[in-house]
């Protein structure tokens, strides 16, 4: 009598759960494009989740309210809470994928993105991992549906080293310098270890990489080691609470804060505000400048927040790093749809058609300005085999109240990194028996 009852209760409960999903499915009107959002508004990373998904939704809402959609095609979305947990993300994927007219997935979580790669490839829907994700998915020959837009972890590493070089008066001045990388003890944190080693060899600086165990609320030992090592710079490759604690402990052990450079997940207001004065003078990389002075952000305030329709609860967070990242993510998604519409018609597109749109997502600086995002981000040029799109980076310094841009737009050394990425993606293709795409495959689109 062991198994039967368990089954019966499961079946009952399952049918209940299924029943409840039905009202979620939007009515299949002809001209709608849907964004299923695996958001996280609860749990340890809620602050980042509310900012990013808030900005994304705000932009979609702006397009609907101001322009009546993309060429008349309305944008819709639905949210599934993940709490940043992989299995909740998978559940949300399976539940939301049956919604009609799914354009693309934007989970903003490496773990969830990994679990989705097989699934979205099978379902032929694009997966956008802006500023994060699997580095080798940059190679569109092997990963047709995955887009680590603007910046993959390797480019980020190269961008940071280039910036330090420029501060020292040129890359050749890096010779003999010492850089410590303080990284989060997770797959994410470890991903760039070989790239720092490579760049250290190339430019002749010395690198020491030190791990901080998750979650990182105690870093006395690491910073004492750093103090003994006396590096010229410390790169912070942090996540969550590790960042403010790093800044606090740096102050405590007497390491100058203006010699600490944060990576792309250590660059938000949430990372510096808890550190108080210890964060004043801290610099971090970003692909999108923060602030509310950009035309597109102003329009969002005018069209949405002034009418009480904005997504953020706290208006002070408009123009924050995560909010602006969400807005830029919105721009990239919407423009991919617009580009795909030019080829396939102004209607609801299939996931594969949107994929084609992303593979032709070319926004030069003039186009970015026309979109009201001049200086918010630089430009992007995605091609069928380069799914990152050569995003530029800039550096912002925290003055105690807000971030201030302190550098020009800097280009990572893409040519140096490409062979490493291809080696990894080709190994993946071999392991999984994937046929490497050629330019001819790009226009084969399922609809």
């Amino acid at each position: 009598m062991t198994l039967f009852r368990s089954f019966r209760s499961t079946a009952l409960a399952a049918s209940l759960a299924l029943g409840f999903t039905l009202p979620n499915v939007a009515s299949a009107l002809a001209d709608e494009q849907h964004f299923p959002l695996q958001s996280y508004r609860v749990g340890p990373y809620a602050a980042g989740g509310t900012g990013f998904f808030g900005g994304f939704i705000d932009y979609l809402n702006l397009i609907n309210t101001r322009d009546g959609g993309v060429n008349g095609v309305k944008l819709t979305w639905s949210e599934g809470e993940t709490q940043y947990e992989v299995e909740r993300g998978v559940e949300a994927y399976e539940r939301l994928k049956s919604n009609p007219g799914v354009a693309a997935w934007n989970p903003l979580s490496v773990g969830i993105a990994y679990a989705m790669i097989d699934r979205i490839t099978q379902d032929k829907t694009p997966l956008i991992t802006i500023n994060h994700g699997r580095t080798d998915s940059t190679d569109g020959r092997v990963f047709p549906y995955v887009f680590p837009l603007l910046l993959n972890p390797y480019s980020e590493t190269s961008g940071i080293v280039n910036y330090i070089g420029s501060k020292e008066g040129g890359l050749e001045s890096l010779k003999g310098k010492k850089i410590v990388v303080l990284y989060h003890g997770s797959p994410y944190g470890k991903e760039t270890i070989p790239i720092y080693e490579l760049l250290a060899k190339k430019y002749g600086f010395e690198v020491q990489q030190i791990e901080v165990p998750h979650p990182g609320n105690e870093q006395q030992a690491q910073w004492l080691t750093i103090r003994r090592a006396k590096p010229d710079y410390v790169v912070l490759r942090g996540w969550g609470v590790m960042n403010p604690v790093a800044l606090k402990t740096a102050a405590k052990t007497g390491f100058p804060v203006d010699r600490i450079i944060g990576n792309v997940w250590s660059n938000s207001e949430e990372d510096v505000i808890p550190a108080g004065d210890a964060a004043k003078g801290y610099t971090a990389i970003t692909t999108q400048a923060s602030g509310a002075e950009y035309p597109v952000v102003k329009e969002i305030v005018k069209t949405l927040y002034d009418q009480g329709k904005g997504n953020l609860d706290d208006k002070k967070r408009i123009g924050s790093v995560y909010h602006n990242l969400g807005i830029v993510n919105g721009i990239l998604n919407v423009e991919a749809i617009r580009i795909a519409q030019q080829k396939f018609g102004k209607r609801t597109l299939t996931g594969d058609e949107v994929r084609w749109g992303f593979e032709h997502l070319q926004l030069d600086q003039a186009r970015v300005e026309a979109l009201g995002a001049k200086d918010l981000f630089h430009s992007i040029h995605v091609t069928w085999d380069n799914h990152e799109g050569n995003g530029y980076v800039t550096f912002q310094q925290w003055d105690g109240a807000k971030w201030k841009v302190v550098s020009d737009w800097i280009a990572p050394d893409w040519a140096l990194l490409r062979p490493i990425i291809e080696k990894s993606s080709e190994a993946y293709a071999k392991e999984k028996g994937i046929k490497i795409r050629t330019a001819a495959d790009v226009d084969t689109v399922t609809n």
Binding site: L3, F7, A13, E85, Y114, S424
Partner: protein, 352 residues
């Protein structure tokens, strides 16, 4: 735990003929699970509900052997799942010609060996001291798997992809295929676990749990029994880890096997019923399905009134409150609850 004397599934066998009646219902369940469910289920049912349910149930069966039967509390279950998943990946990758079935058994054995090592403190520690020291397994394993990239085949990000599921020349593909794969393994191991608890070893487990000194007096090798409980339980949990990673998520990363997962597994056997095999299935069903119902219901009823952040936070509160309420109302778990209902129904029939 000593006061929890919920009758294990084995009890009826002693008095009645152990024949047909015991096996009728499980057989019907299996026929339905193998035959009917795949015919009617949707992809969401398999991917979102049944696959995590099966993996967690198996982990629950494993932990119940250790905690429910042998009385040793462990907070490190997720670590043994991780060991199983990563061991299976590596055996499959590095040993040429080894069939997946072999990799799974070796993965289970690896988890059993690790379980044995982290079970050693049980020889000297008890209660919460033991429970907290099993946390050492939790953190050490997660650290080791993240630290040494050999385990993840030098993959830059430490996340690995699951290979194709091929057993005896047959490849299980798609949601339904993976469901069959998981169901077969769960059925097999649950049957073995059931045989174990009705055997002499199972009785030794219970004797050690109920009174260690008495067990020693009647000649039960207490230390060996405890270590065996750790090993066999870790074996099953390790295989559950293989299912979780290979059949359900299709990726393996250390972060997925964190402390929350360990608590989840301990929680599901307490909710389901300690020292019962079926309890693990009840508990897993509840823990997988219940939050989903809660969130659907919340979105349906209050979706227009509140934004999703408020809704999700409220769900967390409700979930926690219901856990407490459940422990107050039914501390012996769903298995006891259902048994009582069954008695009631049977009593009703007799009277009429």
């Amino acid at each position: 735990m000593s006061v929890l004397l919920d009758t294990p599934a084995s009890a009826p066998n002693l008095s009645r003929t152990p024949s047909l009646k015991t096996w009728v219902w499980p057989l019907i369940v299996l026929v339905v699970a193998f035959g009917l469910v795949p015919a009617f289920g949707t992809s969401y049912l398999f991917e979102g509900i049944l696959l995590p349910f099966l993996a967690l149930s198996l982990a629950g069966v494993g932990l119940n052997l250790l905690t429910g039967y042998a009385g040793q509390v462990s907070l490190g279950s997720a670590a043994f799942m991780a060991v199983g998943a990563f061991a299976c990946f590596n055996f499959n990758l590095r040993v040429d010609g080894l069939p997946l079935f072999g990799s799974i058994i070796l993965a289970g054995l690896t988890a059993a060996a690790v379980g044995l090592v982290f079970g050693l403190p049980s020889l000297r520690l008890r209660g919460f001291y033991l429970a907290v020291s099993t946390l050492a397994a939790q953190f050490f394993v997660q650290w080791a798997l993240t630290k040494f990239s050999w385990f993840s085949n030098e993959s830059a990000s430490g996340v690995i992809d699951a290979p194709a599921l091929t057993l005896f020349g047959f490849t299980f593909e798609g949601a339904v295929g993976r469901y069959y794969f998981a169901l077969t393994i769960v059925t097999l191991l649950t049957f073995l676990a059931y045989r174990l608890v009705v055997s002499e070893v199972g009785r030794n487990f219970i004797a050690v749990r109920d009174n260690e000194t008495a067990a020693r007096i009647i000649g039960i090798p207490v230390l060996r029994t405890k270590l065996f409980a750790f090993a066999i339980s870790s074996f099953i949990i390790g295989v559950a880890g293989v299912l979780w990673a290979f059949a359900y998520l299709r990726t393996v990363e250390p972060a997925g096997f964190n402390l929350d997962r360990s608590f989840q597994i301990l929680f599901l056997i307490i909710i389901g019923g300690l020292a019962t095999i079926r309890g693990a299935f009840y508990g897993a069903a509840l823990i997988v399905v219940f939050p989903l119902i809660l969130s659907r219901l919340g979105a349906l009823v209050f979706g227009d009134l509140f934004d999703s952040g408020v809704l999700d936070m409220a769900q967390r509160i409700v979930l926690g409150a219901l856990i407490i309420l459940f422990l107050i109302l039914e501390p012996d778990g769903l298995a006891a609850l259902f048994a009582r209902i069954r008695e009631k129904i049977r009593g009703g029939f007799l009277r009429s």
